[in-house]
Each structure stands twice: as C-alpha cells, then as structure tokens.
Amino acid sequence: MSDVFLLDGEQVPFTVGQTVMAAARAAGRYIPHLCWHPEFQPHGSCRLCTVKADGHFAAACTLAARPGMTVDNRTAELDDQRRTLLQMLFVEGNHFCPSCEKSGACKLQATAYELKMMTPHFDHFFPDRAVDASHPDLLLDFNRCILCELCVRASRDADGKNVFAITGRGIKSHLIVNSPSGRLADTAMSLADRAASVCPVGVILAKGRGFVIPIGERRYDRQQIGAAEEQ
C-alpha cells in the first residue's frame, strides 16, 4: 500500500522521502511555483508554493510528505499570498511583457494570469540593470531576473560549468557570470548548455531566434499554466 496525503481534500500518493511538490506533480496536480524544477534540487526561494500542511505554512517544494497529512493548496488565503509574492517579483525587476521575447512562454507571466493578478499594486523599484549582449549566441536581460537560481543550479549540476552565481544581499541581490570581466562571452557558456534553456522568465535568450512561435500560440497562450502542468 503506498502512502497518501490529502491535497485540497484529494488523495495524493507518495513514496518515502518525496516532497509534497514532487508527489503532487507526479499525480498531475498543480501547486504554483517558479523556482522549482523537476530536474533540479529544490531551492525554496520563490515561496510561491507555500501551502498549509496540518495548519502550518511550509514550502511544498522542500516539505517531505507524511502519511495522512492534510495540505491546503489553492485556498483563497494562499492564492492571495501568492498574488502578493508575484506582485513583489514584478515590481522588483523591470518587466515589460509586450516587448519580451518570452511573453506567452514565461512562467512568471503565466502564473500571474493563473492567479488573476490584475495590477502590480506596489510602487516599482525600477532597478538599474544592464543587458549583456557580449555572447555570440545568447543574450542576458537581467531586468527580468527573479533570482530563482535555476540557471545557477543547471550550470553547476547539469553542465558542470558554474557559469552563474548570485552576489549582493537583500534587495541588491543580483545574478553574475563567471568571469572577472563580468561578460558572458568570457565564460564557458554555450547555447547547448542546459542553463541556456532553463530560465523560467526572459533573461537568458537565444540570439537571432525572435518570434519563431508567434505570440498568441505560445505554450501558456494556448493553455493556462495550471492546466498545462496538470498532466
């Protein structure tokens, strides 16, 4: 008999050691998230996957499932918190969706639609972040970085290259690349790297490949992220 826990009242089976997020995903259930990715170690930084497990708030991506545990996920309270977290991510960076190549395939944008975020609500921080166009095949637009560290993990754990890291602290935290010049061209990064395609938003983009899929027909244009991930 496999163990189960309750996610919004429905049974989800899990194996020992599995997190609530991984088990939910395996069962085709959607818990909103941005920094979690099935291929990589859980990170726990975006906090969008915060659920209420037996009455206590916890991040589903790092929470080990326990038999009989009751997990609230898509409640009004939790989705409301998620909306605020999304608004925080939007105002912290510079996100101009209409001019972004990732629009329609961006997890931040898609999750904001899923959670019906209508306005950014907070005053924008308008941070001053430069674009790095030094690499022949890749563009880095740091304005959109949500500090999920998926590129950090992918480059380190999948590519073995350590191209990315976070520096600074607090609201000044930001992404850097592995070269004293600060330029991506001077790192070992290549277009074929896992890190080149892992960014959930529009920071790491392949050059010379604009609008291959027209806006309106992209992944989350066709299907809301919740539905798209519930399969």
Partner: protein
C-alpha cells in the same frame, strides 16, 4: 594600506592563502584578511583567490558581495562605519556623523575623490552601553563626541595610522552592573572541565538534562536534547560551534562574556565536545568584534600550553579538543545557525532548508552542536555544581540566570545578570530608568513592551529574550524606533526568498513615506498585510520577525503613526502631486500650474 603594485598584491594574497592552508572552506577568512590588508577586493584579486582555492570566480565574487565589510567598489584608506543602532541615534550619532562628513567634505557612504576616507553606516556594533560608536578600519571606537570627531578628522587629514590614534578612543568597558550565579562565581582554570571529566560524558549530559538548560541564543531549545541528538547522529567527526555572532541590535552580553569570561565560554565548548564526542570546536565571532581577536587567540594559546586544550586534555587519554576562531564580516543573518554554518564553510550566509538539522548535518555536513556563547558558559556551572542545583534557580520553565544587555534611557546601561523570571519593572528600577515609555525586549526581532506590561517576566514562558533590553523614555518617538528597525531588516535580509527580500524593502519604503508625511491609512493596512505575508511565507526567522517592531508599535503606539499621516481619510497610496515633485525640481518650476490637486 597604500596602493600596491600587482606583484605586491599577488604576494600578499599568496601569503594569506598559505596561512589559511588553501582551504576552500576558509574563503570568508581569506577574503576578510585580504580586505583588511589591501583595503579592497578587486576582480583580479577575487580571480586569483578562486584559482588558488579551485572555486569558480563567480562563486568567490558571490561570497564577497554578501558581506557588508568586504569592499568591492570604492577603496578608501580610512573606512569608517558608524553604528546605526536607534540607541546610538538617541545619543546623537546622526548629528556627529553628519558633522564628520561636513568636516571631511564628503558625501555619506561615498569615498572621497582622493580615496582617503569613506564614512558610512552599519548595523548595531554591540556598543549601545557606550555609544555613539564606530568602526574605523575594523577597529572599534566608543563614546564619540564632537571633540573626538574633530580630532579624528584632523588625524585622517594628516594620514596618521589608526594604530597611532589615542589609545583611550579604543577602550571598551565591560560595564557589568549586576552579577549572579554565572558572573559572580570565582573562576579556576580547568575546574569545570575537570568536573565534567570526573562525571564522564553520559553523566555530564545527564546533568545538563536535569539542569533543564535552554539555549540563550533566543529560541530556548533544550541543550541536553540537542547534545544528545548530536551524540547519537551517525558519523565519525563531530563539531561544537559557539555562536558569537551577536547581531541582534542592542545585544552585547556575548561581547562581555568574551572579553571578561572567555575561559568560561572555551571550557563550555570543551564540555560540549566531551558530551557529544567532538574533537574540534569553532567559535564564530562577529566581524564587529574583531578587536577581541588577539586576546582570544592568546587565551587559546595559554590554554593549549596549560593542557586545557589540544591532546589528552588534563591528562585524560583520548580527550582531544581544540578551538578555532572564525570571524564574520558584517551579516546579521549569519547568527541564524544554518546560515552561520554556511558562512563557516566559506559560503554566502543563506539559511539552509531544514531538515536535515545541524545536529545531523552541520559544519561540512557532519553532526554539529551550535550553541550561543552564554549557553556554553552556563554548562560550566552545571559541570561544577550539578544540574539539580542549577535548576533550583530561575523559574520552572526557564532555569538558571540570564544576561541582559541594558541600553538606552537609563542611568546605568550595561550588563545585568538575573535569575530568570525577573520583571521588566525590576530591571528598569535597577538600571535607573524613569518615566519609561517602552522597552524593546530581545531587539528588533523581539517584543516591544508598553508600561502596562512592565510586570511581565523575562522568561521563555512570558517574555523570551536573547539578551537585548532597550529602554525608551517618555520623550522618544516610537515611530522612529520602528523605522530604524525596518531599515535594519532591509539592510540585513539575505535576499534569498521573495517575501523577505522584497518585503523588507517595501516596509522600509512605506515607513520612509509615512515619515515624509505622505502616508495614509492605506499604507498602515499595507504594513499589516506585509507582516502577515512575511510571517507565513519567509524562509527563515529573520523574515518571520522582520515586521514585528512595526506591527507592535502600530498596535501599542498608534498615535506616533497617526500624527504623521498625510490624511487620516482612507486614501490610495499614490500621491499624484508628490509624484510630480521630481519633475518640478528638474524644471525649476513651483507655480500653481506645476501642481496637481489631490482629489479627496
């Protein structure tokens, strides 16, 4: 700190790396030492360090960029950080700092054009009982006055080496005002270790258990339970870590323990080592207490020579234990135990995901007991007198005594040791505080206590405290206190998780907006909403409690906010006219046509 040629730099870096055994886990120590000698960490230097330690450049730069005291941007021969504690602001630190900048013709936070001097701010440096205080090139100066500012400016202009500045500026007093079982007892070298040895590891742990000792770092976790779990955890190598990060503003009791009672802390570490089966201890000393380092190292050397540290301690075959000191480099979050372990391993001080907990996966993933310096000192008392005797002091749930760091509006600031259960009113009376409006117990992460609560007791079951006791007299503005704390948390958030990284910045901005007279009740609601969000979704204790001071003062001192509000009507957060103020400034216009009337 003269500018060095590239080859001189390389030599300095190579020497420091050698001294640190080219150990990648000692990266923070390496960077701190290089920064101390060279005055800055350039990309070239970081690349050199990365190459030699076999760590990627970006990782090294990422670590360097995390710590406030490591200089990456503007080198200056004299680097001054004024302590930004609210208590020191009350002592006039802001005016003194402004005066210093004026006399030096510099902007706050920016190095002078000639690279001579930079005057900035840093979070509380643990000198609230003798402020205003500052750090100059890592050294602590207390009791700043206008006369000292003027004299210091002259010395800086003349290029005098900090080591030749007047000795009395660097004096740090212990200010012990009340002694009880811990501070009042007479110390005999090795006595506590000998007592623990005589009992044996298991029985010694039993005494800690019957003493019902609870951690003094804030959380009050059972020490016996922690040590037992660590002792039982699988693994051959174990560690004892003494947490002397003491970053909570208004806390300075570990400073006094380490300056006047370091032997107790070290012997406590030895006892912990005996109980859990560790051979190595690490003391994480906050960078702000750099001035204590030489004396502490000398003490360790004496203890080694006396057979109280090293191999076969006190002649007991196989009882090996040694202690190493690591310095922090300006990061409050590194007091959080898992962030501390990351920092000890040479990484960014980002709190870990738990489980696993440090008792099974701590320093370098080995079983580790992390304890506050005061907890370890208390273990000496228990070793000598037994657990039952210890448990007779204090209250049922909080046994023994507690060191309080009292600062602010009182006649006798300093260290007070009381049995647990003492009332706030008693402490105020003993410290000579009259007409007190509020006490911030346990620092910004703690609780703000109003007069009707002064009968409450300092104990885990009522008012838990990591030691700070900040007194605010009747004339103080409690909004300003909360605003200072909001700035503190925004400065100290590690930036890992969304709610705290962005939330602390938003709270800071909202408090500044209210302070500038542009707030409305909508902003107050917003503050409460952010508090709830951070409390429930942040990754670590810093984020969970970052809004406590704002929420506490909003509940208990509402008028301090109310009188600043632009309008007490419910009004949206956006002030159209205010938004135009920058444009007015740029165009030099201030006529009626350049203003928008806010509809209300």
């Amino acid at each position: 700190m003269q500018a060095q040629s590239a080859s001189q730099q390389a030599e300095i870096v190579a020497n420091i790396l050698q001294r640190q055994r080219r150990d990648p886990a000692r990266l923070v120590q390496v960077l701190r030492e290089i920064d101390e000698v060279l005055g800055e960490l350039t990309p070239e230097v970081l690349a050199m360090v990365g190459e030699q330690l076999k760590r990627p450049f970006a990782e090294v730069a990422g670590v360097a960029g995390f710590y406030h005291f490591l200089e990456l941007e503007q080198r200056a021969r004299y680097r001054i950080f004024w302590s930004d504690n609210i208590i020191e602001q009350m002592q006039g630190s802001t005016e003194l700092r402004e005066e210093m900048c004026r006399l030096l013709w510099i902007e706050p936070g920016r190095a002078s054009e000639d690279g001579l001097v930079k005057v900035g701010l840093t979070s509380c440096i643990g000198m609230g009982d003798q402020g205003p205080a500052l750090l100059v090139n890592g050294r602590t100066v207390t009791r700043m006055t206008r006369a000292r500012v003027a004299a210091m400016v002259e010395l800086i202009r003349g290029g005098a080496l900090v080591g030749n500045w007047p000795e009395e500026w660097f004096a740090v007093a212990d200010n012990i005002r009340r002694r009880d079982i811990l501070l009042g007892r007479s110390y005999k070298a090795g006595a506590a270790i000998a007592a623990a040895l005589a009992r044996g590891p298991a029985a010694m742990l039993g005494e800690i258990q019957s003493a019902r000792l609870r951690g003094r770092g804030g959380a009050g976790f059972s020490t016996a339970q922690k040590w037992q779990a660590c002792r039982d955890a699988p693994g051959d190598v174990r560690y004892v870590v003494c947490n002397a990060d003491e970053g909570e503003p208004g806390t300075f009791k570990d400073r006094v323990l380490l300056s006047a009672y370091a032997d107790l802390v070290f012997e406590g570490m030895c006892i912990a080592g005996l109980c859990i089966g560790a051979r190595q201890g690490l003391l994480y000393l906050r960078g702000e207490y750099r001035y204590l380092l030489e004396a502490l190292e000398a003490n360790l050397a004496r203890r080694r020579a006396a057979g109280l540290l090293g191999r076969d301690i006190l002649g007991a075959a196989g009882y090996d234990f040694d202690i190493e000191i690591h310095l922090g480099a300006g990061a409050y979050v590194c007091g959080e135990e898992s962030a501390l372990l990351e920092s000890l391993a040479g990484k960014r001080g980002v709190p870990r995901n738990r489980p696993p907990f440090p008792v099974t996966h701590g320093y370098l993933d080995c079983p580790t007991a992390v304890n506050n310096a005061e907890t370890l000192a208390a273990a000496c008392l228990i070793a000598e007198n037994g657990g039952v005797c210890y448990a007779a002091i204090g209250t049922e749930m909080s046994t023994g005594s507690k060191l309080l760091s009292v600062s602010g509006d009182c006649a006798r600031p300093g260290i007070y040791e009381y049995p647990f259960g003492v009332t706030v009113a008693q402490v105020l009376a003993d410290a000579g505080a009259n007409d007190t409006q509020a006490v911030q117990v346990s620092g910004p992460s703690g609780v703000c206590v109003a007069p009707e609560e002064f009968g409450r007791r300092l104990a885990f079951e009522d008012l838990p405290s990591a030691g700070a006791f900040m007194v605010f007299g009747a004339s103080r503005d409690m909004f300003e206190v909360a605003r200072n704390f909001a700035h503190f948390f925004a400065h100290e958030s590690c930036g890992f998780c969304t709610p705290c990284r962005v939330g602390t910045a938003l709270v800071k901005n909202l408090m500044d907006k209210i302070n500038a007279g542009h707030g409305s009740p909508a902003d107050i609601n917003e503050l409460f909403k952010l508090q709830r969000l951070m409390e429930s979704t942040a990754h670590c204790g810093l984020g969970h409690s970052a809004c406590n001071p704002v929420a506490d003062t909003l509940k208990k001192f509402r008028p301090a906010y109310q009188r600043r509000l632009h309008s007490t009507e419910f009004e949206p957060a956006f002030d159209l006219d205010y938004a135009l103020s920058q444009a007015r400034q740029m165009t030099g216009r201030d006529d009626a046509g350049a203003h928008l009337a806010n509809e209300s």
